[in-house]
């Protein structure tokens, strides 16, 4: 069963204060749990205890985390007055009412293509940012990163930083440890529940829902989704963490296609760092690299890798190793940027002594940007010229046609008049391209081929219509007739809404009869 066992990945941590007194740089005697040397298929997960980093990128990440969480939690609470009888929540996906409310925009289920458009925009945006700045989505904005960061912060507040966490993991189950673990998991669960709780607010009136949730009056579906998202948040951000990025997420695989030699990636500058070795006080920097092998980049890494192994699938480009290394370089009196955002092109150019360059405008970025503009323009145009009065025609299939006593032929149709405006509309229904057609609608007055109907506000009005054609007007087994529905009054923009829908009129008649 057990083959050649791998060298144990050392997770111990000690301050090498005595042997390396110089520059009070903290050194860690560790190997990254996911380092290239120990990578192995079917490896059991080894816990990662990322050390807290300080620096420019860490501060930026906290700021972005805060902004994103505020957007997530606050959005359902933004109100938007749409008049009486209509929801006043700015962003609301109303499944029961079959409407999607987004500020002034109201979308019906059949207009789901707008959501498709948004998703295409989001995908193109992701492509654009990836080709420009590499995996900034992974490093800063991905929910997995944001919530994992939040969970790590909570963990450090309760169990302490990396060294304390490792000590706690090794010690027996004392009351203190049980207490700390219990508090940590309770806090995690609370955050997870709040995450799931906020999610359901997008699908119902938030103030009503929050009251219902706490009084037990909400629907089982609501509690079910809160439970589901509580579980996934707790599992993904608390237990699985880097495994989500490494094993579950398809994006690390796909992103390789988005990147080119000018995409920014977090890079260890081998040319400057090697040969690496511990620095002894008074030693000369000649003949050696700037990397003093203090492994601070390794201990801060939430993904458990060694950035010095080069570009790796596991690296989410969170830039915390940059912060860690910069702090060390500062203490050592060496220039910052041994680990930095860099491009393949510039690494190449530096090795040849050429000046660095970074072009924002490249074929790839221009194509992505133009595609985004194109999709956005298409969506805006379609939204601006959106039909608010639509007609769907469903022909009766059984019987397909009926021959009447006088020889005339009758077809039946179910008409769905879709009125997307909040006012009731008096509409005129007429039949085109069918001279002599006689329309009958149970419960409505019809003059020949024109009828007046009332389309209910913000609803689909269904009407069953019979159309009869005299025998002499029928020449073929199938005719095309067109239903047209038009508003009696003009819209606010002066246009009179009209929609036409051609359909078949079947007769069973052949001209040679």
């Amino acid at each position: 069963m057990d083959g050649s066992s791998p060298p144990p990945a050392v997770t111990t941590h000690r301050l090498i204060a005595a042997s390396a007194p110089a520059h009070d740089v903290e050194r860690a005697d560790v190997e990254a749990v996911g380092s290239v040397a120990y990578r192995k298929l079917y490896k059991k997960r080894e816990p990662i205890y990322p050390k807290a980093a300080q620096g420019v990128f860490r501060r930026a990440k906290w700021a972005i985390l805060g902004v994103l969480l505020v957007i997530y939690y606050a959005t359902p609470w933004i109100r938007w007055d749409r008049g009486p009888g209509r929801p006043d929540q700015a962003v609301l996906v109303d499944f029961a009412g079959r409407r999607f409310w987004f500020g002034p925009i109201e979308l019906w289920p059949q207009e789901i293509y707008y959501i498709t458009g948004l998703l295409i925009l989001a995908a193109l945006g992701l492509f654009l940012f990836t080709s420009l700045f590499g995996r900034v989505w992974c490093g800063y904005a991905c929910p997995q990163t944001v919530w994992t960061d939040l969970y790590l912060w909570v963990e450090r507040r309760i169990e302490g930083d990396r060294a304390a966490q490792i000590r706690l993991a090794k010690q027996g189950w004392t009351l203190d440890k049980i207490g700390k673990k219990a508090v940590k998991h309770a806090a995690w669960l609370a955050i997870a529940a709040a995450t799931g709780g906020a999610w359901v607010f997008y699908f119902g009136d938030a103030p009503t829902l929050v009251r219902e949730i706490f009084t037990g009056a909400a629907s089982p579906t609501t509690y079910g989704f809160i439970g589901l998202l509580t579980f996934t948040t707790y599992a993904l951000a608390g237990a699985m963490r880097e495994q989500v990025c490494t094993y579950m997420c398809p994006w690390p695989r796909i992103q390789a296609a988005m990147m080119d030699e000018q995409s920014l990636t977090v890079t260890y500058r081998k040319d400057r760092g090697e040969p690496r070795r511990a620095f002894r006080k008074g030693e000369s920097w000649d003949g050696r690299g700037d990397c003093i092998d203090c492994k601070q980049c390794v201990v801060v890494c939430p993904q458990g890798i060694d950035i010095r192994d080069g570009l790796q699938l596991e690296c989410i480009n969170c830039a915390l190793c940059i912060d860690a290394c910069d702090a060390v370089m500062e203490k050592m009196g060496r220039p910052k940027g041994l680990i930095a955002y860099d491009t393949d092109l510039n690494m190449d150019r530096r090795s040849k002594g050429a000046p660095e360059r970074f072009d924002l405008v490249r074929y790839r970025t221009v194509i992505y940007a133009l595609s985004m503009v194109g999709v956005a323009a298409l969506m805006l145009y379609s939204l601006a010229t959106r039909q608010t009065l639509q007609l769907n025609v469903i022909r009766d299939r059984n019987p397909a046609f009926v021959t009447l006593a006088d020889g005339s032929v009758r077809n039946g149709y179910t008409l769905k008049i879709i009125n997307m405006q909040p006012r009731a509309r008096d509409v005129t229904l007429s039949i085109e391209d069918a001279p002599g057609a006689v329309m009958t609608i149970p419960g409505a007055t019809v003059a020949g081929d024109v009828a007046h109907l009332r389309a209910a506000p913000d609803a689909v009005t269904e009407t069953h219509v019979f159309v009869a054609l005299p025998r002499e007007a029928v020449h073929e087994a199938s005719h095309t007739i067109t239903f047209a529905v038009s508003d009696a009054v003009a819209d606010a923009d002066g246009r009179i809404a009209v929609d036409r829908n051609p359909t078949a009129f079947l007769s069973g008649v052949h001209d040679d009869d």
Binding site: M1, G3, N398, P399, V402, T403, L404, G412, P442, G508
Partner: protein, 320 residues
């Protein structure tokens, strides 16, 4: 199991199960832990299920479980709840006349929906799912009615049936002219030719002239001198070409060869269809809903019939 020497696979360092097929060995890898956990969870679940739900057969019955759950009881409960929920509308349907119900859009929608469901359960077997009928089974979509097409007529027909066991059943019997020897074979053919002519078909003139005389003597009593039928006796209008006892496809395509054969057969046998009485099987409200549904299929006639397709019949059209 006998003790055997562990066979370690050289490539993976994993022991094999000892099974080998054509040199291919099976590695003895452990089951994935997540899989194993789910497997044990399903076992635990099944134990909970045995306790909660009906599960095991016994000699005299079965274990009922703590919840004493029964799908059958739930369905019965849901059906009675549905019935109770619909009761007020059915009640309202019976409080007004069928005509008044048609004027009330909400009630009309309810009646049509209820009628459609009842039609599918009870009537579609003969009349077809779309009420399109078939050979011998009337099409209920058109405006051709044997016994009348007003709401009251339809409701009455559903209640008592045609040639059924009901005491008030609508009843008429066409003689079997050919079979019983009332007419000779040649006379039947001639009469059929006249009917073809009545319906606007390509009739042979000489035969049709002979047939006209026979029609006047034998058929006009019920079908009328003009062949437009008589609803008091359920005698069909023969001028529409929409023959009930003919293949619907032949009617639609006006296949006169086929239609002529069907007419001859009908004059020979005089067969009449049977529709059962529904009074004992359906409650009055359902029958009313059915009548409203059938009336709304497109051929329903107004109660006072000013523009009747068959004036002769309308003049003598009884309400019942």
């Amino acid at each position: 199991m006998s003790e055997h020497k562990k066979d370690i696979d050289a490539h993976s360092g994993v022991a094999t199960t000892g099974h080998e097929w054509d040199g291919i060995k099976e590695l003895d890898n452990p089951l994935p832990r997540w899989w194993l956990i789910i497997f044990y969870a399903t076992i635990a679940f099944s134990v909970v299920y045995w306790v909660m739900m009906p599960a095991w057969p016994t000699l005299t019955g079965f274990t009922h479980g703590v919840r004493n759950y029964s799908d059958r009881a739930v369905v019965a409960q849901e059906l009675s709840a549905l019935k109770a929920q619909r009761a007020p509308e059915f009640e309202r349907l019976m409080q007004v006349s069928a005509e008044q119900a048609e004027q009330d859009p909400a009630l009309m929608n309810f009646a049509r929906a209820a009628g459609k469901a009842a039609f599918g359960d009870n009537c579609a077997t003969c009349h077809g799912a779309g009420a399109q009928g078939g050979k011998g089974y009337p099409n209920l979509n058109d405006n051709v009615w044997l016994w009348g097409g007003t709401l009251d007529d339809i409701e009455h027909t559903i209640r008592v049936g045609i040639r059924s066991t009901h005491a008030d059943a609508r009843f008429s019997q066409m003689p079997a002219f050919g079979k019983d020897g009332l007419l000779t074979e040649a006379q039947v053919t001639d009469a059929a030719e006249y009917v073809v002519k009545l319906a606007g078909g390509p009739a042979k003139d000489a035969a049709a002239v002979r047939g006209a005389t026979i029609f006047g003597e034998q058929c006009a009593a019920c079908h009328g001198a003009d062949g437009k039928g008589d609803r008091t006796q359920g005698a069909p209008n023969l001028t529409t070409g929409l023959f009930l006892k003919a293949d619907p496809a032949a009617v639609a395509s006006k296949d006169w060869t086929s239609l002529r054969g069907s007419i001859v057969a009908q004059i020979t046998t005089g067969s009449g269809g049977v529709m059962p009485t529904w009074e004992q099987r359906l409650d009055p409200a359902t029958i009313r809903a059915l009548a409203i549904y059938v009336h709304s299929l497109g051929g329903g006639e107004a109660t006072v019939d000013p523009a009747a397709a068959t004036p002769a019949a309308a003049a003598t059209n009884p309400t019942r």
